[in-house]
Symmetry: C2
Subunit: 318 residues, 2 copies
C-alpha cells in the first residue's frame, strides 16, 4: 500500500524535500535551486523528490501524494504558480503541480504558498502543536506570515497572513513591494543588506561586507549577519535592533487584534539567530500589548529549515 | 408561544432597547443611563426592556430571551460584568444577567461585550449581511472593534478585536489605556477632545468649545464635532484628518493580515459623520494596502445606533 508522502519546499536558493511515513520524516534531500529557468527548477524538484523517496527506501509505487510549498501566487485548483521573483522562471505562470505529477505516474500533487505550508508544518509537527491559534512569522529574504485560527489555516480571499506588509512606520523605509514602512523593510534580510550598503557607501564603519567576502559570499546571508553580531559590529547591531523593534510592534498589533495563543518565529534569519533573537522580539512586544498579563507564547521553530518541507507533506495529507 | 426577544445596548449615556420578532424590530426604547450606581442602571435597563416589550404589544409571557451588550469585561457563563469605567457602578463586578433575569421571571439572559454585539448586529441584520469575513470598527468615546471570521465571531482568549489598541505610531500620543500611539488616541472622541483642549489652552483658535457651549454641552460630542467641521473649523479639520489617517493605517494593517471582505465603520462619531467620513477612511487605507486591487468594502453601518441593541437580540437567538 502506498504510504510515503513527499514534501517539497521550493526556495530561491535551495529545494528541500522530505519523505514522510506515519507523520515521521524518514528521508530527505536538499538541492541547490538551478539559476536557469522554470523547466530546470521543476526537473530539480523531481530529482530531489526522488532522492528523498529513495532515502526512505521507497519506490514510485510507495508514493501516496506530494505536497509542494513555493513562493508566489498559487492556484490551488490547478497547481499552477506565478509571480515569484525569487525562483527562476516562476514569474510567469508555471504548471508546477501537473508537471511534477506527470513525473510520478500521475500521483496527487498539492501546491500551496511556501509560508503557509511552513506555518502548517510548525502547527502540526513543530512548536505549534500545543495551540489552536497561532501566527507564524518567517524572517528570511523577506518576511512572510501564516495564520492558524481555531485550528485552521486562514486564507481569506487568497492573501491572508501578510504580516511582512503591515506598516510599522507611516512614511518609513521603502519596501520592495512599493509601499513605505512595511515590517519587511526593517526585518527582511534583503532590506537590511540594502540599508547596510547605503550606510557603508556613506562611510559608516562596518565589518559586514568584510565578513561576507571572507565567507566567499556576494550577499549578506543570515550567517554573515550572525557573525557580524557575534563580533560586535555596531551597524549590524543597530539594524538588527531596528528589525527586532519592528517585529515586536507588528506582532503586538496582530496580538491585539486576534488574541493569539502563540507566535512562532522562523525563516532563514530567524532560525539562524535563534532563541536570543526570539526573546528580544518577545520583549519588544511588551510596550505595545493591550493585555500585557496574557501575552502570546513567542517561540522559535522546532523544525528549523524543514518547516516548509514537512508542512508541504502535511498539506498533502502526510 | 414566547416569541419576543429583547436586545439591550448599555452605554455610558444611554440605554437602548429593541424588541425583535422574526428578525424584525417591532418595538424600542431609549433611556438616559442613570448617573447613580449599578442598581440604578440595572433598574433602568429593566424599565427600558419593559417599554420595548410593551411597544411590541407583548407581555412578560411573550418573552423568549434577553440579550445585553455592555462595555467592560463580561463573564459569559455567569452574566457578570466588571471593569467598565463608562457605566456608573460597573467597575466592580455586577451580577447584570441574573438581576435582569430575575426581573423577568427567570427568562434566559445572555450578556456579551457591547462592541462584539454591535458587530454581530451589523453582520446578521445590517451592512455585513453579504459577507462572511468582516471587521467592525466603532468610533465613539473610544474605538472598539469586532471581528467576524468565516461567519463566526472571533473571541480569541477573550480580548480579540481590539483594533482601537493597535499602535499606529510608535511613541505617539498617550492613550487612556496607558500605551502610546494607539488608534484610539487619534480617533476616539475623548482623546480628540483632550487634544483640542490642550490646543485651545495654548492659544489655538477654534470654534469647537463655543459650539459645545452653544449646544449646552460640557463635552465635545459627535454632533459638536460635526458642526465644527461644517463651519470649517481648522483645528477640528486637522484632528479629524489625523483620526482618518490613523483609521486608514490600522484598517489597512488588519486587511493585510486577514484579507477581509468588508470593514464596517460605526459608533457615535462614525455614524454621525457618516458616508463622507467612511469614504475618507477608505481612501486613507489605499497607500497601505498590500493587495490594492482587491480592497475590502468599507461601509457605514446600516443599523446606526441600533447596531448594539439589535446585535444583543441576535446573540440571544432573536
Amino acid at each position: 500500500m502506498a504510504k510515503i508522502t513527499i514534501g517539497v519546499d521550493v526556495g530561491g536558493t535551495k529545494i528541500q524535500t522530505v519523505a514522510v511515513v506515519d507523520s515521521r520524516v524518514v528521508g530527505q534531500a536538499r538541492h541547490p535551486t538551478p539559476q536557469t529557468d522554470a523547466q530546470g527548477v521543476m526537473d530539480e524538484i523531481v530529482a530531489a523528490a526522488r532522492e528523498a523517496l529513495g532515502g526512505a527506501g521507497g519506490r514510485a509505487g510507495d508514493l501516496r501524494a506530494i505536497g509542494i510549498g513555493t513562493p508566489g501566487t498559487v492556484d490551488a485548483a490547478t497547481g499552477h504558480v506565478s509571480n515569484s521573483s525569487n525562483v527562476p522562471g516562476f514569474m510567469q505562470e508555471v504548471p508546477l503541480g501537473p508537471t511534477v505529477s506527470a513525473a510520478f505516474n500521475g500521483v496527487n500533487v498539492t501546491v500551496d504558498n511556501d509560508v503557509r505550508v511552513a506555518t502548517m508544518g510548525e502547527f502540526r509537527r513543530g512548536a505549534g502543536r500545543p495551540y489552536r491559534d497561532l501566527l507564524g512569522v518567517f524572517v528570511g529574504t523577506g518576511v512572510g506570515g501564516g495564520l492558524i485560527l481555531d485550528g485552521k489555516l486562514r486564507r481569506g480571499r487568497g492573501s491572508a497572513g501578510e504580516i511582512g506588509h503591515t506598516v510599522v512606520r507611516r512614511g518609513g523605509r521603502r519596501c520592495v513591494c512599493g509601499m513605505r514602512g512595511c515590517l519587511e523593510a526593517y526585518a527582511g534580510r534583503m532590506s537590511i543588506e540594502q540599508v547596510a550598503r547605503r550606510h557603508a557607501a556613506a562611510g559608516t564603519h562596518t565589518l559586514l561586507f568584510k565578513i561576507m567576502e571572507a565567507k566567499g559570499r556576494d550577499r549578506v546571508t543570515s550567517s554573515v549577519i550572525a557573525d557580524a553580531l557575534d563580533r560586535g559590529d555596531e551597524l549590524t547591531q543597530k539594524l538588527i535592533g531596528e528589525a527586532i523593534d519592528a517585529l515586536g510592534l507588528a506582532i503586538a498589533n496582530a496580538q491585539n487584534l486576534l488574541d493569539l495563543e502563540a507566535v512562532i518565529v522562523g525563516g532563514g534569519l530567524g532560525d539562524r539567530l535563534g532563541q536570543p533573537f526570539v526573546q528580544r522580539i518577545e520583549r519588544a512586544t511588551y510596550p505595545h500589548l493591550h493585555v500585557p498579563d496574557r501575552p502570546p507564547a513567542i517561540l522559535p521553530t522546532e523544525l528549523g529549515d524543514l518547516s516548509g518541507a514537512v508542512g508541504a507533506a502535511v498539506v498533502a495529507g502526510g
